[in-house]
């Protein structure tokens, strides 16, 4: 009996391994994968954005794509390594909080490329690891131009605007991506009118909606008629305030017009989808390079501001032309947008 079982198991093992080998050979298409952060899919932001880039490549027949959702931070390394062991050639890790884990996984799986979303690595980078970040200041700059024009020169376009030439920003925390957005916003507004008054409040949290609302109301009390939210879920409160007190909000990261179509003028967006798609295509073409920090911006088509939706008719052509011109100037390098508040003489 024992001998039968052993023979059976040995046979199963051989056939199984042979099966895997066959499977691997049949996988002619490159295999690209990602792990979400603990927010999972359905976040309407980073996780969805990166997955959309991978599925776009998959739908174009370029790759096979897979996503694993993480439910706790302890899932990050198992997911990242597990996908590599499963045969993925490029694995995306989403979110600032995965910085250490992705470096660990990259060192443990040197044959697989890893891309860290919203990561910028200091010092020596493992040759198979790519940091992916954005020049958020470019999106902030475009939003700042819109705000700069609408708050003063064209304040008669809408009853939501006043003639005080004050705009506002509600920040979550003074972390680099937020600071970049904000620096760009101030620079863009000042490029329209150097005397514009930009007031800002740091709420210290990315998850307290009521606090975001109070911050925006405080800015509105001081005369701000356009307030940009740079505070994640706290920023939803800024949109609440805009809806209640009747002023304009500007969203961030993705097009947030749907949250309050009558009060969200535009949004400063960063293209996680486009960047994921670009990197995937590089893997397929065979010219992906690891061991670097890739920074995406207007020049790569991975930064933009959202359409004006129902405000398209009240935003004057001069403003739209200014935005288009700024995009071209930034992409060509003619304008260099500041990425820190120190360059503007401010302190966070």
């Amino acid at each position: 009996m024992k001998r039968f079982i052993i023979t059976f198991l040995a046979l199963a093992l051989v056939l199984g391994v042979g099966g895997i080998a066959q499977n691997a050979a049949a996988q002619a298409k490159p295999y690209v994968a990602m792990t979400t952060d603990t927010n999972g899919l359905g976040d309407g932001s980073f996780n969805d954005g990166v997955w959309a880039g991978l599925t776009r490549a998959q739908n174009e027949g370029l790759v096979k794509a897979k996503v694993l959702e993480a439910h706790a931070m302890t899932d990050y390394v198992p997911n990242l390594s597990g996908l590599a062991e499963d045969g993925a050639q490029l694995v995306f890790g989403v979110g600032f909080l995965m910085v250490d884990q992705i470096q660990e996984a990259a060192k443990a799986n040197p044959k697989t490329f890893y891309a860290g979303i919203d990561h910028y690595y200091d010092g020596a980078i493992p040759p198979n690891l790519i940091g992916v970040s954005w020049r958020e200041q470019e999106a902030g700059y475009l939003a700042g131009i819109v705000a700069g024009y609408m708050t003063q020169k064209y304040h008669k376009s809408s009853p939501l605007l006043n003639d005080k030439n004050v705009i506002g920003a509600v920040l979550g925390m003074a972390i680099p991506p937020v600071e970049r957005y904000f620096a760009g916003f101030v620079a863009g507004a000042r490029s329209v009118d150097p005397k514009v008054d930009v007031r800002y409040i740091v709420t210290g949290t990315f998850g307290d909606r009521a606090k975001g609302k109070e911050a925006a109301l405080a800015l509105a009390d001081q005369g701000a008629d356009i307030v940009i939210q740079l505070a994640g879920l706290t920023g939803m409160g800024v949109i609440d305030a805009a809806r209640e007190r009747h002023f304009f909000a500007i969203g961030a990261d993705v097009d947030q017009n749907a949250a309050a179509p009558d009060y969200v003028l535009t949004s400063a967006m960063k293209g996680t989808t486009m960047s994921a798609y670009i990197l995937t295509k590089e893997l397929v073409a065979g010219n992906i390079k690891g061991g670097v920090n890739r920074v995406f911006g207007l020049a790569e088509g991975a930064i933009d501001i959202a359409p004006f939706h129902q405000f398209d008719s009240i935003v004057p052509q001069e403003v739209k032309s200014a935005v288009t011109k700024a995009k071209a100037d930034i992409a060509s390098g003619k304008i260099k947008v500041p990425s820190t508040v120190a360059e503007l003489g401010l302190k966070l």
């Binding site: 927010n39 999972g40 976040d43 405080a218 800015l219 009390d221």
Partner: protein, 318 residues
């Protein structure tokens, strides 16, 4: 000097009242629960669950008033779990409270995906309680405090009414005195034939209703949908407010108002550029103020004698 006059505006006081409302509800919940002898650290979690179900009920029926009922019911039912754990199963109150907080976060995230299919914020309500803002005739004309306290939205008024009602209940009704006794000397209560278990269950469910109202304020009065984690630590501030208030309804209200005031102050002070210091120092103000208040007042503030102690009725018939 004009910077200060632009800081101490009527809107500041109005913001203070608004910011303190959810904390007031949670503080009243802490008062009623702890006075009955049950240490409650789960206000944060119950408020979150209340916020979720208030938003869901308001969204699905189209009426924010049903939303309020939904929040109250959810708070009551969720805290029944806490009551069963702490009172019937004799689990350590702090442990049971911690479990409730963890459970609330997971439960709301899970239900968020199941019901709405997305993370972050739930779908917006068609109507929120913000539409029902009204000014109390006469009282709202009092300079400074009039507009702040008496030109507000429904749940803000309800929170102030609850302060008065709870104070009266605790001092003047049989239920209230039983609750107080249950927290000071439960054995005496049992000897008189009143069931401590029933009293504590009642107190906990009441606290659940209050936390549910606090949550409802956050999701369907102050905003138009539920956002994950929106209780934002207010349940824990309520613990401090309760202690600073000496386990009384009125004291708790003043303490939570104080916190709301300092919070509103620091937000506005930041943007006025009065002093150029890092934002984090401003952000710490309310919490430092609370620590000072609690440290300064705790000596004079005496907790109920039997709070946190498990009670087993001898030869219990429950």
């Amino acid at each position: 000097m004009s910077l200060f006059s632009s800081l101490l505006t009527p809107q500041l006081l109005e913001a203070a009242v608004r910011l303190s409302t959810p904390v007031t509800f949670a503080t009243l919940a802490a008062v009623v629960c702890e006075r009955s002898g049950v240490t409650n650290i789960a206000m944060e979690g119950v408020m979150l669950v209340g916020a979720f179900f208030a938003a869901w009920a308001g969204w699905i029926t189209g009426s924010p008033w049903i939303g309020v009922l939904g929040g109250m019911a959810a708070g009551a039912l969720f805290s029944l779990l806490f009551a069963w754990a702490a009172v019937s199963l004799h689990i350590n109150h702090v442990v049971a409270g911690a479990i409730m907080n963890i459970l609330s976060f997971g439960l709301t995230r899970y239900l968020m995906m199941v019901i709405y299919g997305r993370q972050g914020s739930s779908l917006a309500l068609a109507h929120t309680l913000q539409e029902y803002k009204f000014a109390v005739p006469g009282l709202s004309l009092i300079p400074y405090i009039g507009p702040a306290f008496f030109n507000q939205t429904p749940l803000v008024y309800l929170s102030m009414i609850s302060v008065i009602v709870l104070a009266w209940v605790l001092k003047r009704t049989r239920l209230g005195l039983s609750i107080a006794a249950s927290g000071e000397h439960p054995m005496a209560l049992e000897t008189l034939g009143r069931s401590v278990v029933k009293i504590r269950y009642t107190a906990i469910v009441l606290s659940g209703v209050l936390c549910g109202l606090g949550g409802a304020f956050l999701s369907i009065e102050n905003s138009d949908s539920f956002t994950e984690g929106m209780s934002g630590g207010r349940g824990f501030i309520a613990l401090a407010a309760n202690i600073a208030g000496g386990w009384t309804s009125g004291g708790g209200f003043l303490a939570s108002l104080f916190f709301g005031f300092v919070d509103a102050l620091q937000l506005r002070a930041q943007s006025l550029g009065i002093i150029r210091i890092p934002a984090e120092i401003f952000l710490a103000f309310p919490y430092v103020a609370t620590i000072i208040a609690v440290a300064g007042l705790v000596k004079r503030s005496r907790p109920p004698a039997a709070v946190g102690k498990d009670f087993k009725a001898e030869g219990g018939d429950e």
